[in-house]
Symmetry: D3
Subunit: 236 residues, 6 copies
Amino acid sequence: MHPRTRELLSQASTATITTQLLARGLRNTFLHGIKPLNPANARLVGPAFTLRYIPAREDIDVLEVFKDYDHPQRKAIESVPPGHVLVMDCRNQGRAASAGNILATRLQVKGAAGLVTDGTLRDTPEIRQLQLPTFAQGASPLTNLAQHHAVDMQVPIGCAEVAIYPGDVIVGDEEGVVCIPAHLADEIAEPAARQEDLERFILGEIQAGRPLRNTYPPDEATLERYRATTGHPPST
Amino acid sequence: MHPRTRELLSQASTATITTQLLARGLRNTFLHGIKPLNPANARLVGPAFTLRYIPAREDIDVLEVFKDYDHPQRKAIESVPPGHVLVMDCRNQGRAASAGNILATRLQVKGAAGLVTDGTLRDTPEIRQLQLPTFAQGASPLTNLAQHHAVDMQVPIGCAEVAIYPGDVIVGDEEGVVCIPAHLADEIAEPAARQEDLERFILGEIQAGRPLRNTYPPDEATLERYRATTGHPPST
Amino acid sequence: MHPRTRELLSQASTATITTQLLARGLRNTFLHGIKPLNPANARLVGPAFTLRYIPAREDIDVLEVFKDYDHPQRKAIESVPPGHVLVMDCRNQGRAASAGNILATRLQVKGAAGLVTDGTLRDTPEIRQLQLPTFAQGASPLTNLAQHHAVDMQVPIGCAEVAIYPGDVIVGDEEGVVCIPAHLADEIAEPAARQEDLERFILGEIQAGRPLRNTYPPDEATLERYRATTGHPPST
Amino acid sequence: MHPRTRELLSQASTATITTQLLARGLRNTFLHGIKPLNPANARLVGPAFTLRYIPAREDIDVLEVFKDYDHPQRKAIESVPPGHVLVMDCRNQGRAASAGNILATRLQVKGAAGLVTDGTLRDTPEIRQLQLPTFAQGASPLTNLAQHHAVDMQVPIGCAEVAIYPGDVIVGDEEGVVCIPAHLADEIAEPAARQEDLERFILGEIQAGRPLRNTYPPDEATLERYRATTGHPPST
Amino acid sequence: MHPRTRELLSQASTATITTQLLARGLRNTFLHGIKPLNPANARLVGPAFTLRYIPAREDIDVLEVFKDYDHPQRKAIESVPPGHVLVMDCRNQGRAASAGNILATRLQVKGAAGLVTDGTLRDTPEIRQLQLPTFAQGASPLTNLAQHHAVDMQVPIGCAEVAIYPGDVIVGDEEGVVCIPAHLADEIAEPAARQEDLERFILGEIQAGRPLRNTYPPDEATLERYRATTGHPPST
Amino acid sequence: MHPRTRELLSQASTATITTQLLARGLRNTFLHGIKPLNPANARLVGPAFTLRYIPAREDIDVLEVFKDYDHPQRKAIESVPPGHVLVMDCRNQGRAASAGNILATRLQVKGAAGLVTDGTLRDTPEIRQLQLPTFAQGASPLTNLAQHHAVDMQVPIGCAEVAIYPGDVIVGDEEGVVCIPAHLADEIAEPAARQEDLERFILGEIQAGRPLRNTYPPDEATLERYRATTGHPPST
């Protein structure tokens, strides 16, 4: 991901990005049902670092396992590179949490870009106070091994029924999280920014009383006004 | 709808209205699962203007269709009369949005009373800033044609598994949305207002320490106090 | 419940309590899907007083039944002792509410510790203003007899698929509600407090930049620092 | 229940009975999602004997409890009078079974009329061979205390979200199970039989090529033919 | 639809047809959750004739409405042309049936090709005896107006979340129902038949012990054997 | 797995095995919602060979991928050793099939013991004719890459929310599938056989008219009769 791509994507909404991906034939890129725990810090961009859970088994997943500092969940937390997003596959199951405040705080201290799970988180009152953008289906106080067994990391996973490959670019905002396949991130960053710019102009026109006809989508005359007003070239 | 009906209903809660409708044998009038996006602007009253979606098909519902300004979705937005509520039947499906901020803004500029969908909306961070009362099952950034095909308007629809006929009176508050059959709106407006007035009085009694017995529901002595205190006739 | 137990539990999070219960073999103690209506007043501790609903029947559950002040729902409200929590079994069904603002206010006036239902509540805009900690799956304006029939009280019930026996200790916070079997409340109160104290220390260490290794869970050296810093004995 | 009522109801379909109950204002009488395990033996009529389960708790519901022959589940099985139907409230949860083949066989030997649960049954390959009409949401091999705790019997319950009072009349056929409130069983038995008789005649007419118009529902001429052909008075 | 198309499609499985449609970019053509009531008569081909239901309302949808022989449901049944398939949009809701045995029998007598609903049917023990291919999500004895209001026919609908336009070609087999957009039916009929023929050959090879490699999908040598054995040209 | 273990387990029901596992603290071993496609061939015992799917992505999962004979799905089929069970993790999603008849036939030819998926299968009319025990949540004709991407094999997976490690022992019967952790298979085989033997005796007693008291569970006198009649030692 070029630095310019990160900059452009950090200003693009998930609404814009999903449209850009749809135009390229990708319909299943938004993580439905996953919401920001702290909407004020929902702006997120970074490559995915993946962690996979399978269902827990009572004889394996006992409280003592955490005494092993190389437990896959702990190891994953310590392995996320700065600027990356930890994405956890919990099979969309949330009776037990995927992680809690201490692990989320460690991620923040290490410079991770964000935390995304299709399960739940615990200690959410504290997590809501973090700067770290954090996305989940909700809250559950139960510790993860009551339902989840961390098994491996940096493998392709599903998260909220969307394919996530390590290195895909994760973008989040107040509406949720979208996954951009790694090879498309640079390609869509510029068109996404242009689309946003044009739509801001169109919104102004609508606020000023123009009807949808000729304005949204813009006809040639509207595009001409857009160019004249903003000096920007129109997006396509 | 008489102007007096609109005035009375705009002060009645959905709790009161559903009770009035239940007393007349109507049990299925509340749109379960549909919540206000901006609770501070949730007060809504107006006749329903309906728009029906069916599932999208990949060869028909392509991004290019919006170049036709007579596309049914766009036409519906421009057709909602001032003071009316656009109610959209999305079959309770929300993977793709029913509409976004530009269309919602256009509705507001045109003087619509509100926007209700049993699906989702996109651009919700911006929609939450509108004055327009807006109700949905949640947010999705995906543009509507990824799942929905606008097909016709002003036909009877289902919304959140409630029958909505064009002209039915839609009332919303922070708890959600209720649909009053057109022929009952005038009939229940006055009893609803009286019920609210009486219940406010009863609440004061309970806050002052009276037990439920004799107070809720009010016996004759409580009704007498109500009349004496407020000068109002009791509701039935 | 010893007064000291109440004091300790009122400072323990549901995250800590569910871990203590899990350590004792109890995996199903959290009421999944039940959330505080007013998160600022979510701190709740008290013994359970139970009310059981079955599905309503149209010929029995008519609006007139409330004229009987000994109707089981009303009687239950008046029977909850001060400091107790009214827990209602609505079979996880929420199309109609379990109770509304007048009944919740009466509970508050009588000194109840809280109100928990696995269904919904009505008049939630007003209920959100109460001091009474109140937990539900959400809001519905429909009066309870449209779906529920109050049948008996102080029997063992299920609430959100968790067993609740009268007298079990209910604890709530912003993440939701946990049920502690009566015989375990005193036993876990002290360990829970110690666990919270230790985890606060560990969080400080993590915030200061320490890695998970040796810190979380704490090794002997970390425990030593904890004892030295706080003067507290370590939890186990 | 008059013997004549039992005889008439044992020939009426659940389709006919639900229509008779709907005509009397009862819309929620069919146990949705509950199917016969052995459709060839689905014909069932008898008064309800109820058993209520709540969720299990790991420290109470251990395999040893069955050593107590007065365990509520075992006691319920032994208490069902001949000709009655054991109806079990499992909160519509089926991860663990409500009962297995040995208990079902005991019910059959004792002369029970049938077995209905809104949960699951185990040993279903064997249960399918019984004469006893048996209805459930499906099969699960897990023994009941993995999820269920039998708590009391002969109290009003919900089963598949339908109210069941002890003594209500349970009728089953290949489509499933309907609950007739006790006070209506005698009242609807005769009209149900007449409706079935008339509809058999109408079906013959339709099979012979008559259109729906004038035939279904029958106009006066069709009713006349019905009376002339069968010698029966028309149902209403 | 050419007669040849009907002939070819009546021998093609839904597995083959969904693959042909997927190859043309259509991913949402199978009616998930809809099963044949009588698998022995599941083979179905014919153009769709649509009927749309919205939710019922208690004051409109009373048992008396059927006295009007022009009630939309009855009118739809009488309007289905021979060889066509009645497809009903019940919003995937099945608490009340979409139709019963008398109406299904009338359809059969009139020469309809089949009956498809995304809701339920009643009188299913009798319907299972019909020759008419009949598909539904299951059985419910409740008459349709307890939940459904027939509103109009021959409009585009959704059925099991698939778009159905009047005239689309409906194909059914033991696995369920697929909808072929009208303009594609002729186009895919021949390739579907060729695909089936080739796969039958491949299956024989696999049964004879060949590995997947080189056989499935067929390499040039396998295709050569296919051509030599069957004399047919290979599908693509 | 000892040959004797396989022999004993092939006669034990899933009801018995789940009880043996529950007695050892394992509550989550049955694959809920997964049913045999051909109940007459449901008896299944064998070690698990796992295949993991993640969600498909439109640009990767195109029909052409199958031209690669080393595609992970095809490779997995060819890698299952004789006597092993292919267990597929489809995240409980079934809109597209996990496999079809040609692959299932190849498995059978190669001597696999069975096929289990928590998704669906296609070509089920043909699969039902195979000898191979086959378990799925149902049928869907859609080819797998419309929803699934085969990613790796012989890693730990979840199947129907149960943990499956390669080599765990899979047992199936008409009620479904249970997973025995590898290290417990030999341990429980003998007790399971003894439990079955004892329960067959108890069933005979119940059929002969004995009450549950003293018989089920058996008291010492019943156990004595069991030993005397069968010559077997009692299970515990």
